[in-house]
Amino acid sequence: MTTRTPDRFRCQVVFPALGTTAAMLVTDPVALPAAEAVLRAELAAVDRGCSRFRPDSELTRVNVGAGVTTTVSAYFAEALQAALRAARLTGGVVDPTVGSAVIALGYDRTFASLAPEDARPVPVSRPASGWRRIAYDPRTRRLRLPPGTRLDLGATAKALAADRAARQAAAVTGCGVLVNLGGDLATAGPAPQGGWRIALADDHAQPAPQGGPAVTVTGGALATSGIRVRTWRRGGRVLHHIVDPATGEPAAPVWRTVTVAAATCVDANAAGTAAIVLGARAPDWLRANALPARLTGLDGTVLRLGGWPADSHAPAPADLRGTAPGGPR
């Protein structure tokens, strides 16, 4: 279902995609149809290439063929390189080879079809096989996974899709564009006056509270990772989807939600996910990388780093009422 507003000043579109919500905002209402077409094409490409829930996706083919050398498509190669970049940036804290661990924990189908309560015990966890054991030649796009390894490109592929869609839509339309895929935001082109206004929440799909924290950005990207969404119970334990590759277990809960700003959505996403896995070591790592970030502890305590502004009190977000990014028209 697509949410549309009937007037000709509509500057945003929201619809379900990739098991979450896709939203696009543009600074020029005339550009919205063309920009939306770019976004939909990008979403179709990332789903076809990188979904681990589609039996016909390229990722499924690669995972099934672990141990055998294969040639991947240009799109898959870009997604793989984004995942490997995230692994390099984080020293392996974010690792695409956690696929087997995530599946072992029970997240082996789309989250919507996952049983919220699984009585079976949680299996003994094993560390991820490790991104350094992936054999990949970017010149020939030939790839060989270690036998038994399953890639999970979920987070970085979504962030990459946001980056690519924003960049391409801005290039096609010549206007400012913001793409929001499940809370991972990328911008491109000229920002509206005063910047893009973004509410901060634990769950991107829940209505942001009146007077909740909000920020503006004039470029770059924002991404949020958290352990309060995509949770399920298994063997009496509450599990979440952010897995520590060193243990194969869900990351120990230290931060409820982490939002990071970076030049690209891939980097912001990698840093946010790394912060969740790093736990108490996250602030030092984020400071060392000069990344603006907002970390919310389990008790609601907020830590701001890298020039992240103090919380303001903004009204609730526009509820898709067709407001132009520069303000109501």
């Binding site: 054991r133 910047g195 920020v215 969404v229 700003a261 790592w285 502004p309 303001s312 977000p317």
Partner: protein, 131 residues
């Protein structure tokens, strides 16, 4: 009427017959070698072409593992190495050990935004949050 003896061709002598046979054998050997060499060269050329065209070709050389000059523990962030060194498995251990004398490459870092976010009290247009 029976033919006259002059109509019969003279039978070649033993020396001439052996010479002709050797020449024939040499020619046959040369032809066999030439065919074998051409077939081998053709097979090698086609194999090279198919290696690049057919995904997952077993004859294709495996790409090298992804390298990381400065190895740190999996849960240790970049720039915060605790000194522990994760020992890779199999041939990678040898390869990485072999790199110990090389100058370390710069550790890549996430790229910060041009400007950090700023506060606002205006109505937000969209929401970031976990998904």
């Amino acid at each position: 009427m029976s033919p006259s003896p002059d109509e019969f061709r003279p039978t070649p002598g033993p020396a001439f017959s052996a010479h002709a046979r050797d020449r024939g054998l040499r020619r046959s050997r040369r032809t066999t070698v030439w065919i074998a060499a051409t077939a081998a060269a053709g097979a090698a050329a086609l194999g090279g072409v198919y290696t690049h065209l057919i995904p997952g070709g077993p004859a294709a050389p495996a790409p090298a593992p992804v390298h990381q000059p400065a190895t740190s523990h999996a849960a240790t962030p970049a720039g915060k190495d605790d000194g522990g060194r994760e020992k890779p498995n199999g041939h990678e251990a040898d390869e990485e050990d072999g790199e110990q004398g090389a100058a370390p490459a710069a550790q890549p870092a996430p790229q910060p935004p041009a400007q950090p976010p700023a506060a606002t009290q205006q109505q937000p247009q969209t929401t970031t949050g976990a998904s």
